[in-house]
Symmetry: C2
DNA sequence: TATTTTAGTTACACATGTGTAACTTTTGTG
DNA sequence: CACAAAAGTTACACATGTGTAACTAAAATA
């Protein structure tokens, strides 16, 4: 029973996403969110006790989606194909990255928030597993030197995916450039 | 004449810098700044009409320092030496980078702000000139392929300098790793 | 020492954000 | 149809931020 909802969880996350991207964490307010969804602030407070819990929950949800996505890389391919597969998937979740960067700014206003921040941290590891797998393949194929530190290599890949496309190249060619830089840097 | 100042411009910029790093642009308030300097808010308002003009002025000042710094790379060295020289200097101005990223979030509350944002944009070019010079040298020495796009290469270098040092390696070894990644990517 | 000038403080009016309590609307069900 | 349950709104109290006007403090100088 009860009356029909004016906004779905999808709506909520959609607008949360957009707002976080455009105004950042500190600029994000419940007023702005309510306004962009088209309901009153209090309607959102019925579902989430405060801004912090709403945002951390959004992040956990996004992280789950991302881990799922990355874990679907086809690991039976060659190293280079795996890398390409990976890069395309990582490229799709670029702004997610940016958003997850806000996690450290969230105040521990409640135990729940503190715990979910911890959860988020642990999930970060899950994000790295597929990458580790790809690097392992690269080492097996003799493309990557055995003695190189995996963690640095994957930080490198994560960092490059966030490289701004200032020239506004088509995604495909831009990804090709990134792949080239990852594989061989600036040298011939 | 008049009474002695309680805080110098240096003090002001120092605390502005620290605050921007720790709380970000949206979290930055005149109250926090005044508090960390140890004066009243109004004392700062005597010098800057609002937060926006204060911050944009700080950015212009920082940018000037950075351009000056980068332009002092010794361009009579070999490509690899130039690159190393450059990386050390860029590493010193890492957080500057982060701070300049906030520029787009500053509201155009006055003509002055709008103009200084424009100035800042133009200065960005000045930051690239020494990098272009180094890349040119690399091409001349036949290390970088002639047909590669300079702008992408320098975006790449800028991006890598911001790579987080999650393993907390000593700066020297970390810079060595970055240099290696820039030169050859992940391949042997 | 009285005056001028500059630096700094206090206190106000205003704006925007938060979280909640009391109320209203809409829906399904006995 | 009336009434319980869920969803939504309005209005309030409170907190924090902004910018300014009136005031006070300290130093140079005539």
């Amino acid at each position: 029973m009860g009356r029909d909802k004016k906004f779905s969880e999808q709506d909520l996350w959609h607008h949360t996403h957009q707002l976080l991207l455009s105004v950042g964490y500190q600029g994000f307010t419940m007023s702005l969110l309510a306004q962009s969804i088209g309901v009153s602030r209090a309607a959102i407070y019925k579902q989430y006790p405060n801004k912090e819990e709403l945002i951390i929950q959004f992040m956990v949800w996004q992280m789950e989606k991302s881990i799922e996505n990355l874990s679907n890389v086809n690991f039976s391919q060659s190293f280079e194909q795996q890398l390409e597969d990976l890069l395309v998937r990582m490229f799709d979740m670029r702004d997610l990255h940016q958003i997850l960067g806000f996690a450290s700014q969230i105040n521990d206003v409640s135990l729940v928030v503190k715990q979910k921040k911890e959860v988020l941290n642990n999930m970060h590891g899950g994000l790295y597993i597929p990458l580790q797998q790809v690097i392992k393949q690269g080492k097996e194929e003799g493309i990557i030197a055995e003695d190189r530190n995996n963690f640095i290599l994957l930080s490198f890949i994560f960092q490059l995916i966030d490289m701004p496309n200032h020239l506004n190249m088509p995604i495909e060619s831009f990804l090709k450039e990134i792949k080239l830089l990852i594989l061989h840097g600036i040298s011939k």
